[in-house]
């Protein structure tokens, strides 16, 4: 056990699974980096933010495959390799680039098992960075997990901390279905205690990072940290919150979300993705349908406006949900009860 960054936790998960299973291979743009350059230095980058650094040096060219900038071909190749005996982990760099290879994910990988009558296994992981907060602007900042969650046949993972990232990535690699694993690029330097040994965190089991009586906050990925921050502040004012980190949006741990709402009677959902048809709407629909009687206040969604992610820092700050906005949403659902009672 030692403190590890989100980046190190992912690197360690990849390394340990590559050691465990020779069928695990890495495919992606610049995941080593430097091949064909004039210096002769390979493993120059280890991915655009250094997450796969060292793995080419350790495992060599038969396990770590740099690709041309050619998402359709190499994501498709990862799908084909997964269907024929390898267990590839492909890095899509920025999830925004899925526009260049959605067919390989949506029409191929996701559908093989069903279309082929249950005969296919496609043990594929696609890792990609998501999220705003990096001044990366509209084409490098999206939180596209609802897009993947919408597609039957895919599993979608959004780790909220280094510990979670390692365990969930190991689970993803061992899983026999195609998994989209989304890493918030702002979190790579976040640190916490992470076991040195390999471990797997099962999919479809939400994690309660706070437990309280008044309000349930369901948050995804990086938003879990903001929700925790808000919950800790609110606690001082006597408002106690449960914070639910679903970990995976597909499968979604509906049972835990419903139980928490049954307990608290109030729900705030924090979702960094664009607000139309996102996870917040999905969770809101779930609760409205199955826990309607438990609700003491309207469900509140905290998210960005329905715009592309802006570039300028001042606008990006306005765009992203933060602890203060979560806090005020919680206070508003608490206040709702009071007005009702007074009336």
């Amino acid at each position: 056990m030692s403190k590890k960054s989100f980046r190190q936790a992912i690197n360690e998960a990849l390394r340990q699974e590559m050691l465990r299973d020779p069928r695990v291979v890495l495919i992606g743009e610049d995941i080593a980096g430097g091949q064909g350059g004039t210096s002769g230095v390979v493993d120059a980058w280890g991915g655009v933010l250094g997450v796969t650094k060292g793995l080419y040096t350790e495992f060599g060219p038969d396990r770590v495959f740099d690709t041309p900038i050619s998402e359709a071909s190499y994501i498709g190749a990862a799908v084909g390799a997964a269907a024929t005996g390898l267990r590839p982990v492909a890095e899509l760099m920025f999830v925004d680039f899925v526009g260049c290879c959605l067919d390989q994910i949506m029409n191929q990988a996701a559908k093989f098992r069903y279309m082929f009558g249950g005969k296919a296994r496609t043990p594929l992981v696609i890792r990609a960075m998501y999220g705003a907060g990096f001044n990366a602007a509209a084409q490098h900042s999206q939180a596209l997990y609802p897009l993947f969650t919408h597609i039957p046949g895919l599993k979608v993972v959004i780790p909220s901390s280094p510990y979670e990232a390692k365990g969930l990535l190991i689970e993803a690699i061992r899983d026999d279905d195609p998994v989209i694993f989304l890493e918030n690029k702002v979190m790579y330097d976040d640190e916490e205690e992470v076991p040195d040994e390999p471990y797997a965190i099962p999919f479809g089991e939400a994690n309660l990072t706070r437990e309280g009586d008044d309000v349930t906050i369901v948050a995804f990925g990086r938003m879990v940290n903001f929700a925790n921050e808000a919950a800790d502040r609110l606690e001082k004012d006597g408002i106690s919150c449960t914070v639910v980190d679903p970990r995976t949006t597909s499968p979604l741990d509906s049972a835990t979300i419903l139980e928490c709402v049954e307990d608290t009677g109030r729900l705030v959902i924090v979702d960094e993705s664009s607000p139309r048809c996102n996870m917040a709407t999905d969770v809101a629909a779930l609760v409205a349908e199955d826990a309607f009687d438990a609700l003491k206040a309207p469900i509140r969604r905290v998210g960005p406006p329905h715009t592309p992610v802006p570039f300028a820092t001042v606008l990006e700050k306005l765009y992203l949900p933060d602890a203060a906005r979560i806090e005020s949403a919680v206070r508003s659902v608490m206040a709702y009860k009071k007005t009702k009672q007074e009336a």
């Binding site: 510990y163 076991p195 471990y199 797997a200 965190i201 089991e205 309660l208 606690e235 001082k236």
Partner: protein, 373 residues
Amino acid sequence: MTDLITPITMPKFGLAMTEGKIAGWNIPSGTHVDAGQEIADIETTKITNGYESPASGTLRRQIATEGETLPVGALLGVLAEPAVSDADIDAFIARFQADFSSGGAATTQTDQAEPTLVSLGELTLRVQDAGQGTGTPIVFIHGFGGDLSNWMLNQNTLSTGRRTVAFDLPGHGGSSKNVGDGKPATFAATAAALLDKLDISRAHVVAHSLGGAIALELAKTFPQKVASLSLIAPAGLGQGINMDFIEGFISADRRKTLEPVLDYLVHDKTLISRKMIEDIIRFKRLDGAVKGLQTIAQSCFPNGRQADDLRPVLASFAGPAQVIWGADDEILSPDDAKGLPETIKVLILPAAGHMPQLEKAADVNAALTKFID
């Protein structure tokens, strides 16, 4: 007047504790407290524990609020006689906080030993080595599903004037997950090898639950290494075992399913903290952990009964031996302590479950100190 003011600071329960949370104040500000009276509940990463006042006086201030998490050594409150003025107390607090923030916290961080990894052939064991002095060392052996943190409230106290060693058994905590055949005799051989590796030729053995059976196997095979036996709710003295606990501990993989299983461990169910549950779930997620537990359970508790009868070993042990048991143990019955030879001291602690060393740490520490010294 500052000598009349006593700071109440975040205690350090166990070597690994770096911070604690005020689960609740037991007395309001302005009340008189006696030394030793429990004034607050402190929740650590492992367990919630009552905090006994270090002195008598009036609790003049509660600095820390309920729910607040603070580093070890941080100021929680202030004790002083009514005669001390508020201004003096304010000045005291200001000075304390200034000193603490300018390095006090860092000092408490650095003086605690982190567990180290010790290689024994193919095995790696996580070992907490503490204390020094001329006294015969103590080795602590935890039970099924435990780890060295089971001794967090004991090892520190017993480390005065002697070396103490707590370690994670194979398959547990931060040690290798290979448990071999999972039998107490095998773990005893590992414990003996660890003592050799640490240059400890002879030690007082303090052992809990399944660790008790391991201690007895150690005494059987390596009697020269065992200076005395202190067995806490030990296995090996009867046949019965709460298999709902064993099987539940192995199979539960979520907080909701694990919590009722862990409730078997203690008399006061509120001691099972959220973090303790999370830590056990995290341990069980490690590759090989559940498999190791299954192997141990199959070897030690086949068909729902304890496999090894080690009463004869205890009866024939030449050195001093004592047995400590919680009266309300729901996992191994304190009745197993009946009928032992009269030379063996038996202490049954009321209002304690299967882990008296945590639940009644002061009583157990007193019994151990008295017995070993």
